[in-house]
C-alpha cells in the first residue's frame, strides 16, 4: 500500500483521539478568496453528508452501501483491530451487521478541515449510538468518536482512513414507553 502524507498523519494521531481531534481543529479553515471559501463550504457540507450517509448505510444494514463510503485502499481502525483494504473492511462490517439488531449512530460535534492536498479533508466527530440486540437480550448505548481522512474520488467523498473509538457503553432497559 502506498503511504500518502495524509495517511502518515493519520497513523501518527490515531492512537490518541483527543490529540487527533485537536490536530484537526488546529488546521487552517478558510482561504481568503471568495471562490475558495465557497469551495470549502460546499466540501464541508459534503463531508458532513458523508458521515450521515455512512451511518444510514450501516444502521440500515446495507453492506454494499456501507462499503461504498470507503476507498479501495482504506484503513479502518476500531477499538480492537485494524483492517487494511476494502476486503478486510468488508469482512468487519459483514460480521458486525450479522450480530446487530437495531442501531442508530447519531453524529455530532463535527469538525471538518481541508487536507494538505486538493481533494483531501479531515474530520473529527462524536457519536452516540444505541444498540438493541435481537438475540443478546440487551440494550446498550455507545458513546464514541470518529477521526478520519477523507478523499474526493470521482466527485464523491470517501473515507481513506477512519478511526472509531468507543469510550463508554451504558445500558438501558428496552421497552414501550409509559
Amino acid at each position: 500500500m502506498k503511504e500518502s502524507t495524509g495517511r502518515s498523519w493519520f497513523f501518527e494521531h490515531k492512537n490518541d483521539m483527543w490529540r487527533a481531534a485537536n490536530w484537526v481543529i488546529d488546521r487552517p479553515t478558510l482561504t481568503s478568496t471568495p471562490d475558495n471559501q465557497l469551495d470549502f463550504l460546499m466540501n464541508d457540507l459534503a463531508i458532513r453528508e458523508l458521515l450521515s450517509s455512512y451511518t444510514d448505510a450501516f444502521d440500515s444494514k446495507d453492506l454494499a452501501l456501507t462499503l461504498a463510503h470507503f476507498t479501495e485502499d482504506c484503513v479502518l481502525v476500531n477499538p480492537r483491530t485494524t483492517f487494511i483494504g476494502k476486503r478486510e473492511v468488508q469482512e468487519f462490517y459483514s460480521n458486525a451487521m450479522a450480530g446487530m439488531g437495531v442501531s442508530f449512530h447519531r453524529v455530532q460535534n463535527v469538525v471538518v478541515r481541508p487536507g494538505d492536498e486538493p481533494g483531501e479533508g479531515w474530520v473529527s466527530a462524536y457519536f452516540h449510538a444505541p444498540f438493541i440486540g435481537p438475540l443478546t437480550a440487551m440494550a446498550i448505548s455507545q458513546l464514541g468518536r470518529y477521526f478520519g481522512r477523507v478523499v474526493l474520488e470521482e466527485s464523491t467523498w470517501r473515507f481513506a482512513d477512519l478511526r472509531i473509538s468507543v469510550d463508554f457503553m451504558p445500558g438501558y432497559v428496552h421497552g414501550a414507553a409509559g
Binding site: 483527543w18 481531534a21 485537536n22 481543529i25 479553515t29 478558510l30 471568495p34 471562490d35 471559501q37 465557497l38 463550504l41 460546499m42 464541508d44 457540507l45 453528508e49 458521515l51 450521515s52 450517509s53 451511518t55 444510514d56 448505510a57 440500515s60 444494514k61 446495507d62 452501501l65 439488531g101 437495531v102 442508530f104 449512530h105 447519531r106 453524529v107 455530532q108 460535534n109 463535527v110 469538525v111 473529527s124 462524536y126 452516540h128 444505541p130 438493541i132 440486540g133 435481537p134 443478546t136 437480550a137 440487551m138 440494550a139 458513546l143 469510550d167 463508554f168 457503553m169 451504558p170 445500558g171 438501558y172 432497559v173 428496552h174 421497552g175 414501550a176 414507553a177 409509559g178
Partner: protein
C-alpha cells in the same frame, strides 16, 4: 435570498440578560432576527460565520471533555460571562473537573450574525453524558444561548448560558457495564430493504406521490434517498443559494424541535404547510389544523422533552423542493414522571413558499423506546 434588514445595531450583553429569564423567549428572539444578505459575498460570509460558531462550540466541548480548561478558557473574550458568572474559568471547572467521563454534544443550532458582523448569537440544545467520580452515571440536558464577539479577527464566546432543564440518573457505572439490562419485549429487525425501494423506484421529482410510495419503510426511503442526486448547481450564485437553503432547512428542523418542546403550537404551525401531511406508525393527520391537534396530543404524553436531531441529509429536487431525512433522539419525562428515551427517524418532503422552507410531508418512524436504568431500580 434577502428578507428584512436587521433594524437595530448592537444588541450586547444587556439584551441577553433581558431575555434569558425565559430561555424559550431568547430562542424565539434569535429566530426572529431576520436574515439579510446585501449580496453574495455577504451571504458567503454569513455561512462562514455560522460554521465558525459551530466550530467554536465543538472546540469548547472537546476541550471540556478532555479536561483541557486552558484551551476552553481561550475561546472566551477577556470580559466574558458564563452562566451569569464573570469567572469563566470557575464555571468551566465546575463542568469538567469533578467527572470521570464527560461528553457534551450539541444539536439543533440557530445562528444569527448581527450588528454589522460584530456580534453573533446562537441557540442550541446540549446533552452532557457523565460518569461522576463516585461512579454514578447520568445525562444532563440543557438549552444553550451563546453570544459571540469578534476579537482580533476571530470569534470568541462573550456570553454563554447553559440552562439545565433535565438530569436523568441511570445507575452505577459498574452495574451498567457488567449487567446486561433485560429486554422487555422482543425486537424485530427492521425491513431495511433496498429491494423495496428499487422495486418501487419512484421519481425523484414525484412530490407527494413519491413520499407516499416510500413512507411505509423508512429505511427503504433512506436507500432511495442515497441513490438520488441533487439538482445541479451551475453557477457560483446557485451554489451559494444551495448552501443558504441547507442552512435554512437545518434551522427549520431546529425550529420544529424548539416549537415542540416549548409546547408553542403557533410556532409548530408555522413550520408546516397549510396542506401538510404528518404520519407516524399508526396515525395520519392531514392539513395544518389536524397536524397541530396531533402535536397537542403528543405534548400531553411528555411533560418535559428534548427533540435532539442529528444526521440531517437534504437532496434538492429544485430551488423550491427538497427531500429530507434525519435521526432523532428524545429524552423525556413521560406519564408518571418516568424517564424515557425515544429514538427514531424522519422522512420528509419540504417546500419553499414565499421564501420560507416548510414541511409538506412528514413521516415519523418511531424506533426503540428505552427506559434508562435508574438508581435503585
Amino acid at each position: 435570498m434577502a428578507t428584512t434588514p436587521i433594524a437595530a445595531p448592537g444588541y450586547g450583553r444587556e439584551q441577553l440578560r433581558s431575555l434569558t429569564g425565559d430561555v424559550w423567549r431568547a430562542f424565539r428572539w434569535v429566530r426572529d432576527r431576520d436574515l439579510f444578505f446585501e449580496d453574495g459575498d455577504d451571504a458567503q460570509n454569513h455561512l462562514s460565520h455560522e460554521a465558525a460558531a459551530q466550530d467554536l462550540l465543538s472546540r469548547l466541548f472537546y476541550s471540556l471533555d478532555a479536561a483541557n480548561l486552558t484551551t476552553a478558557a481561550s475561546l472566551f473574550t477577556a470580559n466574558a460571562n458564563m452562566d451569569g458568572d464573570h469567572n469563566v474559568r470557575r464555571r468551566l471547572e465546575s463542568r469538567a473537573l469533578p467527572l470521570k467521563f464527560s461528553r457534551h454534544r450539541f444539536v439543533n443550532t440557530v445562528t444569527r450574525v448581527l450588528s454589522a458582523a460584530l456580534e453573533m448569537w446562537l441557540t442550541c440544545y446540549v446533552h452532557q453524558a457523565r460518569i461522576h467520580t463516585n461512579g454514578e452515571v447520568d445525562s444532563e440536558y440543557s438549552r444553550c444561548v451563546a453570544r459571540f464577539e469578534l476579537q482580533d479577527g476571530d470569534w470568541r464566546f462573550a456570553d454563554l448560558l447553559l440552562h439545565v432543564d433535565l438530569v436523568q440518573r441511570y445507575g452505577i457505572e459498574a452495574d451498567m457495564v457488567a449487567i446486561a439490562p433485560q429486554v422487555t419485549d422482543k425486537v424485530e429487525p427492521e425491513r431495511a430493504t433496498r429491494a423495496f425501494s428499487a422495486h418501487r423506484s419512484p421519481a425523484f421529482d414525484g412530490g407527494r406521490t413519491t413520499w407516499n410510495e416510500l413512507r411505509e419503510d423508512v429505511w427503504a426511503a433512506h436507500h432511495w434517498f442515497a441513490d438520488q442526486s441533487d439538482s445541479a448547481c451551475t453557477s457560483s450564485e446557485e451554489r451559494l443559494q444551495r448552501l443558504v437553503d441547507h442552512m435554512l432547512i437545518r434551522e427549520l428542523l431546529a425550529n420544529y424541535a424548539y416549537a415542540h418542546d416549548s409546547r408553542d403550537l403557533a410556532w409548530t404551525a408555522s413550520n408546516f404547510n397549510d396542506d401538510a401531511i404528518l404520519i407516524n406508525d399508526t396515525l395520519r393527520f392531514e392539513g395544518n389544523s389536524e397536524v397541530i391537534e396531533a402535536f397537542r396530543g403528543f405534548n400531553r404524553r411528555m411533560t418535559v422533552s428534548f427533540h435532539r436531531f442529528s444526521n440531517p441529509r437534504v437532496k434538492f429536487v429544485s430551488a423550491e423542493e427538497a427531500w429530507f431525512v434525519a435521526y432523532y433522539h428524545v429524552p423525556a419525562i413521560g406519564p408518571g414522571g418516568r424517564n424515557q428515551y425515544s429514538f427514531g427517524r424522519y422522512f420528509s418532503r419540504l417546500t419553499k413558499r414565499s421564501g420560507r422552507w416548510q414541511i409538506a410531508d412528514w413521516r415519523i418512524a418511531n424506533d426503540p423506546t428505552v427506559l434508562p436504568m435508574e438508581i435503585g431500580s
